[in-house]
Symmetry: D2
Subunit: 359 residues, 4 copies
């Protein structure tokens, strides 16, 4: 077989481990050839490809990023280009199909999130043999138990919390740490438990500033003059988003940074007169060498995808149904989100050990 592979969407630790496993399984098990496609689907449109052999993937597993590059705005069905100084959108999916054939591909492995896999499914409908591998740092894809990159992101946040803890404790401070998770609070919850947070705010549980302040005072009453708060970027106050917008009004340039972490800090300072410091971890959550857990999971996904290709399971994606990697029809897998359940084990454990969700 001649297998193409591309990586799409945001950066995620483990992408190189997937690519490596695809190449290693293809060569060692099947003596297949693998073609790497550069920069996501835009490489398929512009025919930027090169062979991937064992030498090329040697030593890449510990590295963050993707040796194939990625792209965020490369939907071939609505491809946006500047033509004559104007942004024009067009359907160039036929060009992509042509290049698939020109490269003599028997199959295309697409590693990506919901958006990227949706495009993969559309190419399946246009006749390409596509196999998906789910990728999101946020762990919010419904079809699979866990996604690679998530454990590494949780580790990065936990390490930041470990560092912030000592400062908070030495200086009697309230520290707010804003982390990834616009729709689901997985990273905030897991890293919050692991990093010893006292309050965790997530999109699944709207918060009240008063409840947060109460927890801070309760801790003060016990002689604990510091509090660590983890906030998922998608968390919001029960009283509605309106409040957040008010704060950043009149300053269009600084809106980007004034997220919910900033809002929580500002409101807490206003209500409690305690000093609050905010840290926004940002893109460091997407980088770094993948954790052992993620390297193994990514390797399993990559190896399974090649096996699925040989079994003809096209228009499917690899999914973890613990302890197995199974194939799931792409159509079923898409557009469903896995959110943190307020009755699930993470929240129950958190509440048991005294963590407040600001509700």
């Amino acid at each position: 077989m001649r297998i193409g592979v591309l990586t799409g969407g945001g950066d995620c630790p483990g992408l190189n481990a997937v690519i490596r496993a695809v190449v290693k399984t293809a060569e060692h098990k099947y003596h297949d050839e693998v073609i790497g496609i550069r920069d996501g689907f835009s490489g398929l449109i512009r025919n930027k490809t090169h062979p991937l052999d064992l030498a090329r993937v040697s030593g890449i597993m510990p590295r963050g990023g993707t040796i194939l590059g990625s792209s965020n705005r490369d939907n071939p069905f609505k491809f946006a280009e500047y033509i004559g100084g104007k942004m024009v959108q067009s359907d160039v999916s036929d060009t992509a199909v042509e290049n698939y054939k020109k490269n003599g591909l028997d199959c295309l492995i697409v590693v990506g999130g919901d958006g990227t896999l949706d495009i993969a499914h559309k190419f399946s409908q246009k006749g390409l043999n596509v196999i998906g591998i789910p990728k999101t740092i946020d762990n919010d894809l419904y079809a699979t138990d866990i996604t690679f990159g998530y454990d590494t992101a949780v580790t990065t946040v936990m390490e930041a919390l470990d560092k912030i803890h000592t400062t908070a404790e030495s200086h009697h401070r309230v520290m707010v740490v804003e982390v990834m998770g616009s729709d689901a609070g997985w990273i905030a919850t897991a890293a919050g438990i692991a990093g010893g947070a006292h309050i965790i705010l997530i999109p699944e549980i709207p918060f009240e500033i008063e409840k947060i302040a109460r927890k801070i005072y309760e801790r003060k009453g016990r002689g604990k003059h510091f509090t660590v708060i983890v906030v998922a970027e998608g968390a919001y106050p029960i009283s509605g988003e309106r409040t957040i917008k008010r704060i950043v009004e009149g300053s269009s340039e600084t809106v980007r940074l004034g997220g919910v972490g900033e809002y929580v800090a500002a409101e807490l300072e206003r209500q409690t007169h305690i000093e609050v410091r905010t840290t926004v971890l940002g893109h460091i959550q997407r980088g770094g060498t993948p954790s052992a857990f993620d390297r193994i999971l990514a390797t399993r996904y990559g190896a399974a995808a090649v096996v699925f290709a040989h079994e003809g399971k096209f228009d499917h994606m690899a999914a973890l149904r613990t302890p197995d990697i199974v194939s799931v029809p792409l159509e079923e897998a898409l557009h469903q989100m896995k959110r943190v359940s307020p009755d699930g084990s993470h929240i129950v454990t958190s509440r048991n050990v005294g963590i407040s969700f600001g509700d």
Copy 2:
């Protein structure tokens, strides 16, 4: 309630996270008191105890080891002491029962491996309210999907392999790394996949030196002049253990170090004339700050044990049946070992990506 807690057996990252979760759940959820028992069962025999409150467990989660201390040879049913320069064994379990009562305990949470939990079960039969929490770095306890400490140990080995990889590659060397796992090859297999090992030797799959040499030559044929081999300490050659013993004969003092890693290195050098270097990771695999995964798992175990205490689930232990923590009768849980299945996902994935098991 008044809950006692002790930690027994070998060191394992996550013990402090368990203790912390026990105390936090006891205080926050139930307003219980917790009594820490020092140095495993020997603290129960000698009545070395102290209260554990929130202040005492503050900040301990990131630390390796156990703030309660542990002990390896403290079985109260066969307690060994030097009396008059002679080692004498006696049953002092009644003393332990007395101290349990003297401390006013309603329940005793015992964190330990197979041996420690066996003792816990015996105390149940003597009328104590005991709840077990499984602990082994080797991940080989049958009753639970995963044990805390394992992910951290795998990470430590993976990081060592990452370091060894670059030396092996720059210097065209064969590097043998001996890791923990006398009965089961979980650490070797997982860390081997994550650390990019080319050959993994585990107790579940007896190896042949010739097969290992063949893999080294096959790599050389592809221009890869280095090979990284991970060996679980319990791995052995198919031709029998006899060979290992021969090597260390005549040198009783050095036997301890001359493990299977050393054997593999010596035999490979003899057969291939390629330079081989051995590293024995030893106790660093038991230490260090627990990984995020282990902190969360340990916290879940600790919190669940207190809940089980309030539900009266004595003579049981907490066990992970993904995604839940359930209670399992101690009797059922003990004396069964979980080994790496040659048909399981780890081995299948490994073989797919070209890893050899020397068979």
Copy 3:
């Protein structure tokens, strides 16, 4: 002797290593007693003290923060307190002197930055036997070659840059990372070199956005579609601070976060239409386990301070004059700042390897 020790000012990795070395040297070398004073000078005012012995400092070296606590606004010569809902400032230094005597101290070791050491010097003039140990994460104290905490902060920033690098490269992004350094660019420069930054902006060298844009284009011309920029929080554009203020006008609440990193990102996006992402590392630079370098340096400072106490070198501070720790009169040491020299080895090396300073 009876030696008091306190830590003042902002958090800094290595404080616990200093405290530990003070106690260990006092006990092992001189059989002295050590008294810990809580929360900086405020503990001396309120007489919050406790003995520090070997048991108390066991195992603290790897931990961030300070076991003694610290305080930021505790100048006994201008002590601020809320009295009757109003902030009142008064000179309570005599109370501090009294408590020094009440605790039977023969000497007080003060670990702190410029402000804290200035207070220490004033107490010397009031007759106390004071010895200073310099502390600043920013490495900008004139009197000493290097301060502890700096190497750890550089390492934290470097690790963040390593993580951001892979994302920048995979996604063709310009990434701006704002780091500590309001008056001096030591952290930005050292971490920038170590983390492979392409542009470093520091207070010592005012920048021009056009020059930054030019470097980005120059890289693009060589096929490098990403650029990593490190900005010290005190860097500013050559055209004057005015521009930064304009941006945050009208939004008093969000001013805190809209630092120079944000300014650089916004201006670059405006001028180049390339996507720019900003990360503000904040307080994680002050936390974490100290690096080997900092542990050794902090241990040397702590041990030397006790030796100086026995040599009667009061009103002095310990200072590193490579390779020795010497004593320097506090008066000489204060109020002088060490900035990055534009002709110094760090800047010269940076320019040699092609790093731009935006000038």
Copy 4:
């Protein structure tokens, strides 16, 4: 100019940072060309070279090892080859000179230890324009204050000691950790201080087992039932090496592992009946991503070497004379070793904080 660069001898973190700095300085500052020579001097003999440009060195700084490969037994003046099944030594230095010319080199930058730099000097005498960069993980080169790789090795050992500490403490164990340093105890001393070792054994200070045992008992007397001992591989008992040899007699195969760490452990167990565990860190001390300190130092060396080339300072090597990088005649620099001074600051500080050297 056309500059060749090669790396020789053992692996050392920072080699890639040197290579990168050479290429970056050559291209950015001088528009020079750089030619990489593979596998040390053996690449010059066999003419295995390739151009090194900015793209080739992009992203290599964080990686351990050397992208050029190295070689241990490649002295062109005594080159050993198997010819007809027999090892034959010959002087092939003229071939190397020829290949230097064939590649059109104006200068050759040689990164290596004492042995490699000695060869470099001999090529200088044969008319080549050679510039040396000192490299040893052991920090024992006389001509330079500090060598890159050393700080990383110290960090690796410190991290291992941090891990071992918690196990030692939880289990009341004596732990022996054997580290690199056959002639000088720099790594053992620095890592011992930073890792909180209680006893450090180095080649510069012969030890007595009785003194070690006394320290263990002294600690026990203070309630400290654990002790951490760091042993440099070249440390030896005052009573002579003879004892070490006796232990491994009769077992020629296991001699390699039965180092001084093993000896100390065995003797201590014999004399104290306390359980002792040994860990031999081995090659993981040579690997891993370089520390910030080492990346900066390596970058300075690499950049300076290219500047020296343009200044015509051939037959010299770059050396750190804090805070400057200077050029030193190779002849003066070689064959002198820098050992840990028993009166130097490291030993004095160590003794002050109560560390024993077993003397």
